[in-house]
Structures are given as structure tokens and as C-alpha cells.
């Protein structure tokens, strides 16, 4: 009787370890190590090409405080975060409800069409939208607007400070909608039809059904969507910026990711670039923690 529990516990531990260890090793090598390594490099003055690294303590972080472009970049990042969350969620929810709750024919076709931008490479999206914004008459947007005016419209969408960020926002929203729409549709289709029937019999209008049945029951998915949009935007808007403007003109559309790339790989300050990387990590963490708090609602289960 005494031997049994130990061998049982040993086997149990081994069993658990067998699952944890491989994942843990992968996590350490692929996630934890690069992160800590970046943190470590951010304390050095290093070009990224040289064998010499000079320890400079927190100087890279002090430099960040004096760098005007960092301010612009943070502002632009949160500009994209805020408007992407608002537009993507509003449009995706509307479409999801329209395609599930309202009896529209051929929803499958719409689903495919609306999901399509997600299947196109971001590079193609960037090139396509650069054509849309082209200031000469090759540009679709200006050519289209010119139909309604007596004089040809020649707005330089990506070249003016007051339009550039909005112009970048549009393809980012357009490319994001499909995925979240599918996510929310799946959630809505999980809601039992009987709830709506009961509400209908009680005289609830479609708006009330949406507000009091649909929204509470898909809240978890909406929360996930919001946090996912925030994190991917803070980490990933680099790509769309680089394809559309490269952070220009005169750094006015720089986001933290694109500025990190420019500093690290075009201006050869890998230490400072790592410090910017740490800033992105910190801001992403703080933002998602705050959001988690703000979005806390009682989970309603069916």
C-alpha cells in the first residue's frame, strides 16, 4: 500500500511533464529568449553589424523621451487602434447580424465576397490601394470624385498630413472586416432560435432583440475581437505603413513598428530599435490589461 501512491504520483508527474516540457522548451526558445534578448540589447549601443557592443544603461530609453518621432508614432498607432476597433466592429457586427438574422438569400456568396480581402496578401492590398489613391487620373478615388466636380480633383491622399492617416486606415479596416464577421457569425448562429421566437411573441422589436439577446450572448467574442484588433494593430501596422508611405512624408505617418524597422535596419541603431521594441511590448501589455478591465461584463450563459 505504501509503494502505490508514489509510483502513481511519479507516473502522473511524468505524464504532465510530457505535455508541459516540449511546449515549455519551444516557448523558451521561440518567445521568451528573443524577448529577453531584445530587452538585453536595448541596454547597448550596437549597430547590428559590428562585433562591438557598448553598454550604455538606460541611454536608449532617455533618447526616446527626446525623440519627437516617437510621439508621432505612438499617436498614429493609437489613432489606428481606436478607429479600427470602432469601424471594424461596427461593420462586422452589422454584416454578421444581417447575414444570419435577416433572411437574406445567398448569404454564402456574400460571406465569400466579404471574406475575400483576408485571403489577399497585404502586399497586394498595399499596391492596390496605392493605385486607388494615386493623385493623377490613374487614381480611382480622384477620378471618381472628378465625376461630380467641374474641375478635376487632384488630392494627394497619402501626401498630406490631414488625409494620410485616414487613407491608411481605410484599407486596414477593409482588410480586417471579413475575419471578425465570420467570428461573430459563428457566435450568433450558436444562439438558440427559441430565444428570438420567445422574444418575438413577447413583442420585442428586432432592435430590442439585437440589443438584449444578440449583444449579451456574443459579448465574449466581441471582447476577443477587440483585444485581437488592438494587439495586431500595435504589432502589425508596420506592414501597411511600409507598403503605403514608408512612414513619410517627413515621418508624419510613422508608427512604432515602422520606426523600429527604420532605426534598426536603415539607420543601424539596433540597441535603440530594441528599446522601441520594448516600448511596443509594454504599451501592448498595458493597453490589453486596461481593455480587459473596461470590457468586463458578467458573462451570460445560455
Amino acid at each position: 500500500m505504501t509503494a502505490k501512491p508514489t509510483s502513481y504520483r511519479l507516473r502522473r508527474s511524468l505524464f504532465i511533464l510530457g505535455f508541459i516540457l516540449p511546449t515549455f522548451i519551444l516557448f523558451s526558445v521561440i518567445t521568451a529568449y528573443p524577448m529577453l534578448r531584445g530587452l538585453y540589447i536595448s541596454l547597448f549601443k550596437w549597430s547590428g553589424y559590428s562585433g562591438n557592443m557598448t553598454f550604455i544603461g538606460l541611454d536608449n530609453y532617455k533618447r526616446m523621451l527626446k525623440d519627437d518621432i516617437i510621439g508621432t508614432a505612438i499617436f498614429n498607432d493609437y489613432f489606428l487602434v481606436f478607429w479600427k476597433v470602432v469601424f471594424i466592429l461596427a461593420i462586422a457586427t452589422f454584416l454578421a447580424v444581417a447575414l444570419t438574422r435577416m433572411s437574406i438569400k445567398r448569404t454564402g456568396v456574400f460571406r465569400v465576397i466579404l471574406f475575400f480581402p483576408n485571403l489577399i496578401s497585404v502586399v497586394v492590398i498595399g499596391v492596390l490601394w496605392r493605385y486607388i489613391y494615386n493623385p493623377s487620373d490613374i487614381g480611382f478615388l480622384n477620378a471618381f470624385l472628378s465625376l461630380f466636380t467641374s474641375e478635376a480633383v487632384t488630392t494627394v491622399w497619402l501626401g498630406q498630413t490631414n488625409t494620410a492617416m485616414w487613407s491608411i486606415l481605410a484599407p486596414a479596416v477593409w482588410a480586417g472586416i471579413g475575419f471578425y464577421m465570420i467570428l461573430l457569425m459563428a457566435a450568433i448562429m450558436n444562439i438558440p432560435e427559441s430565444l428570438y421566437e420567445a422574444a418575438g411573441i413577447d413583442g420585442a422589436s428586432r432592435w430590442h432583440q439585437f440589443k438584449h439577446i444578440t449583444i449579451p450572448l456574443i459579448w465574449e467574442q466581441m471582447k476577443v475581437s477587440i483585444i485581437h484588433i488592438v494587439i495586431t494593430t500595435l504589432n502589425g501596422s508596420f506592414i501597411i505603413i511600409f507598403l503605403m508611405t514608408e512612414g513619410g512624408p517627413d515621418n508624419s505617418t510613422q508608427v512604432m513598428g515602422s520606426y523600429l524597422y527604420q532605426i534598426g535596419f536603415q539607420q543601424y541603431h539596433m540597441g535603440y530599435a530594441s528599446a522601441i521594441g520594448v516600448l511596443i511590448l509594454t504599451l501592448t501589455l498595458i493597453t490589453s490589461l486596461i481593455l480587459n478591465r473596461l470590457l468586463k461584463r458578467e458573462t451570460i450563459e445560455m
Binding site: Y33, S47, Y49, G51, G248, P249
Partner: protein
């Protein structure tokens, strides 16, 4: 209690593992430069008499393969091998070679000879990082197999790094202003030869409803190379030393009188409304397409333009090239080159072979081969008339060989200052800053980089 204990053990485990890895890896690439210097002597016994017997040992060449291909490299390396049958030549090449080789440069185990070109390479940064061998004295005496002094036959001399040379340009090209000769003839527009005629013809072009001047706003180095830098040399009375003084970040140079004069000329062009307003948002494809479609008359670009757009050129389009348009009447043209250089690693194990190879490739015959194999110009004054090189390249070569043109050194500056140069010219063209503020920005960037 139990779960707490488990958790803390797990956290401790994670931390120790992570930190041990951190320590191991950071320790690995700290100090390991020693072995390179010890091998040096073994490569070659007879230093001076080596030529007749050929070189021995290992010799590694790193070259980037991009738009120019690798045909020429294989060709010259083959010839070099024939001359030195006992030398074990290793070619390290490819389109991603700069990234692939970076760990070896960082660890202090670089190849012997390097051709610096392509994404992820930066000559000035390599000099700053002390990766390259000081070639100042070697280049002064270097002669090729035909007995010619290399510095005499080179179009552009080596880049000056506060009195020292570490590199020698291999590829030579020039920035300039391009236009469609046939279209100009048809419209009755004159080819500009100086600033005055440039302004006059631009006025005419504008009156006919065409944008006189388009450029690549997303990559402002095009207009810096094709317009601004030649304006600076012209404003300095054709004295090219100002480019070297800018490259060495001399204090006050960016606010000096010639620079301000040049920028005021740019402002004149800007305020006359000759610069296409949409150009600020265009990348090279956009601006070159607009140029090919006759939406604009002039475009600043490099000599590769004709080759790059060869598939999209409309019928009857006739490329022509003017080295510079910002000089006063009667002054010489200014050529602002772009170059890609070769160099020898400071920690090269076989410096002897690397130096011999450098001397070996700078001949007129190899320069003609280069022009035919790549469609570009090698940094050697060679006669291309009878070669199969393209017409724009030949026109350009005629300019370079003429007395009516000065060739400035390529402007290779610290990457931070380069960024400032690019950002500031866009801000100036967009009327966000004045020439004085341009000077302030550049002086600030230069002071930080000094």
C-alpha cells in the same frame, strides 16, 4: 499551499532557464576576434615574388547578386583562378548574402574580399564599425595587369573618410535629369543646358498643361541625387570638394553659403509651381509611369532607368539624359555619381590575395565586359562606343569623358544624416520648412552623428 509551491517552482524554473540561455548566448558573441590575426602569415610565403608562381591558400569573395547578375563575377573569378591555380577561391554570393553573412562579420570571421551592394549593406556603417581595411596607401600605388595606375583610370576616386580610404567604387552610375527627346522635339521644347534655360522651358511646359518636373517623393534620395546635390556643387562654382566636406560632416557645412544658394534655387523651382504636387506620395514605379505617360516632362533618376522600364516604354519614346540642370550659364555640368564599392575586410585572412584580386579586376577589358554583361558602367574610363551597351549608357559615358563636366565624389554619409537629408528635402518641397530650417535640421543630425 501546494499549488502556490508548484507555481513558484515553475516560475523559478522558467527564470533560470531563460537567464541561462541569455547568458550563454550573450557570452558567445562577445569577444572572439582573436583567431583571425594568427592565420594571416600562413596564406602566402612569397609576398613579392608571388605573382609569377601564383597565390596560394584560401581566398573568399563575398558578392551581392542583384540587377547586375553574377555573370561578370564568375567571369573575372574564373580568369583570376587561371592565373593562380593554387589558390583555393571560395565564392559566397546571392541576393540575400548581406543578411546571410552578417553573423560572420559580427563574430569577426569575415570573408577576405567584399562587394558592398544591395539591401542590408552600408559602406559608411562598415567603416564606422571598423570592419574594413585601410586602403589609403595601397590604392596610391595600385596598378593593374596592363601597367595602368588604378586611380588614373577610375572615373570616381575612392570615398574619403576623414583623409582615409577604405573602399573603391566598382560600379559607377550617375544621377541626372531624364526627358523624352522625341516628345520635346515634337512640342518645340528646348533641352535645358543650365538653370536659366531649365526655368524657361519649364514655364513653357507648364503653360501647355503638363507638369514640368515629377520625382519620387517616397524615396527622396532620387531628387537629392538628381537635383539637389548637383545644385550644391554648381553653387560652389563647380568645386566638388563640398560633397566630401558634407560627407565628413564638417561643422556648419550644411548652413554654408553654397548650400543655401542651392536650396534657394530649389525653392525657386518649387514656388514657380514646376514640381508636380502629387509627387510627394509617389514611389519609383508611380513616378516613372507618370513620366512615361507624358504626365510630366522631367524626372530625376539614375542611369538604370531605361533598363528598369524597358518593358513599359511606349512607342516612339526616346530617353535622354542631362547630368545636371542647376548650373549657371556657361558653367560645367555636374555629375553626382552613385556607386557600389569593393573593399577588403579588416580581419581578412588572406589580404595578399584580396589586394591582388582588386588590382586584377580594374582593367579596361573587364570594364567593357561589365558594360556588356550588366548594361551598366564600371568605374573605369573605358571606350564603350564599340560595345553593345545601351544608348543612354553611351551618352552618359560621352559626358563623363568630356571636359565640360565635373564628376563629384558620391555622397556617402552616415545613415542618420542620410535620413535627415531625405526627410528635410521633402519638408522643404512641401513648404513645411525654409532653407534655414533645412540647415538647422541637418546640422543637428550631423552634430549627433559626429
Amino acid at each position: 499551499m501546494n499549488t502556490w509551491k508548484n507555481k513558484s517552482i515553475l516560475i523559478a524554473l522558467i527564470l533560470t532557464l531563460a537567464f541561462s540561455m541569455l547568458a550563454a548566448c550573450s557570452g558567445a558573441n562577445k569577444e572572439k576576434p582573436a583567431p583571425s590575426s594568427t592565420n594571416q602569415g600562413s596564406s602566402n610565403g612569397g609576398n613579392d615574388s608571388g605573382k609569377s608562381e601564383g597565390l596560394t591558400g584560401d581566398f573568399e569573395i563575398q558578392y551581392f547578386v542583384g540587377g547586375y547578375g553574377d555573370t561578370w563575377w564568375k567571369h573575372v573569378i574564373g580568369e583570376f583562378q587561371k592565373q593562380n591555380p593554387n589558390l583555393n577561391i571560395k565564392q559566397t554570393a546571392g541576393s540575400q548574402i548581406n543578411d546571410q553573412m552578417r553573423p560572420r562579420w559580427i563574430q569577426g570571421n569575415p570573408p577576405d574580399f567584399v562587394y558592398i551592394d544591395g539591401a542590408g549593406s552600408n559602406e559608411a556603417q562598415m567603416v564606422t564599425d571598423e570592419q574594413l581595411l585601410d586602403l589609403t596607401d595601397f590604392l596610391k600605388g595600385a596598378t593593374n595587369g596592363d601597367g595602368e595606375k588604378i586611380l588614373d583610370i577610375a572615373i570616381a576616386g575612392p570615398t574619403d573618410y576623414s583623409g582615409k580610404n577604405f573602399t573603391l567604387p566598382l560600379v559607377f552610375g550617375s544621377w541626372g535629369t531624364f526627358y523624352d527627346k522625341a516628345w520635346f522635339k515634337q512640342q518645340g521644347w528646348d533641352t535645358p543646358t543650365d538653370f536659366e534655360s531649365f526655368m524657361a522651358v519649364s514655364e513653357k511646359i507648364k503653360a501647355s498643361g503638363v507638369s514640368p518636373y515629377i520625382h519620387t517623393g517616397v524615396y527622396p534620395y532620387y531628387i537629392n541625387g538628381g537635383l539637389v546635390n548637383s545644385a550644391i556643387v554648381a553653387a560652389n562654382g563647380g568645386d566638388t570638394s563640398i560633397i566630401s566636406r558634407m560627407a565628413s560632416l564638417e561643422e556648419g557645412i550644411f548652413k554654408s553659403e553654397p548650400v543655401m544658394k542651392a536650396l534657394n534655387r530649389i525653392v525657386q523651382v518649387r514656388d514657380a509651381g514646376f514640381v508636380d504636387p502629387g509627387a510627394i506620395a509617389l514611389n519609383h514605379t508611380d513616378s516613372q509611369m507618370a513620366f512615361l505617360q507624358h504626365k510630366a516632362a522631367f524626372i530625376p533618376n539614375g542611369l538604370w532607368l531605361e533598363n528598369e522600364m524597358s518593358k513599359d516604354v511606349p512607342e516612339g519614346f526616346e530617353f535622354d539624359f542631362i547630368p545636371s540642370v542647376m548650373q549657371d550659364k556657361g558653367e560645367k555640368y555636374v555629375a553626382i555619381p552613385y556607386t557600389a564599392s569593393v573593399a577588403i575586410a579588416a580581419k581578412a585572412k588572406n589580404q595578399e590575395a584580396a589586394k591582388a584580386f582588386l588590382e586584377f579586376i580594374f582593367t579596361k577589358q573587364f570594364a567593357v565586359d561589365w558594360a556588356e554583361m550588366t548594361g551598366a558602367i564600371m568605374n573605369v574610363k573605358a571606350d564603350l562606343e564599340n560595345s553593345t551597351a545601351g544608348p543612354v549608357v553611351k551618352t552618359a559615358m560621352n559626358y563623363f569623358n568630356s571636359d565640360n563636366l565635373v564628376v563629384a565624389p558620391a555622397l556617402i554619409v552616415n545613415a542618420d544624416v542620410e535620413t535627415a537629408l531625405q526627410d528635410s528635402i521633402i519638408a522643404l518641397l512641401d513648404k513645411r520648412i525654409t532653407p534655414e530650417e533645412w540647415g538647422d535640421r541637418l546640422e543637428k543630425a550631423a552634430a549627433a552623428a559626429r
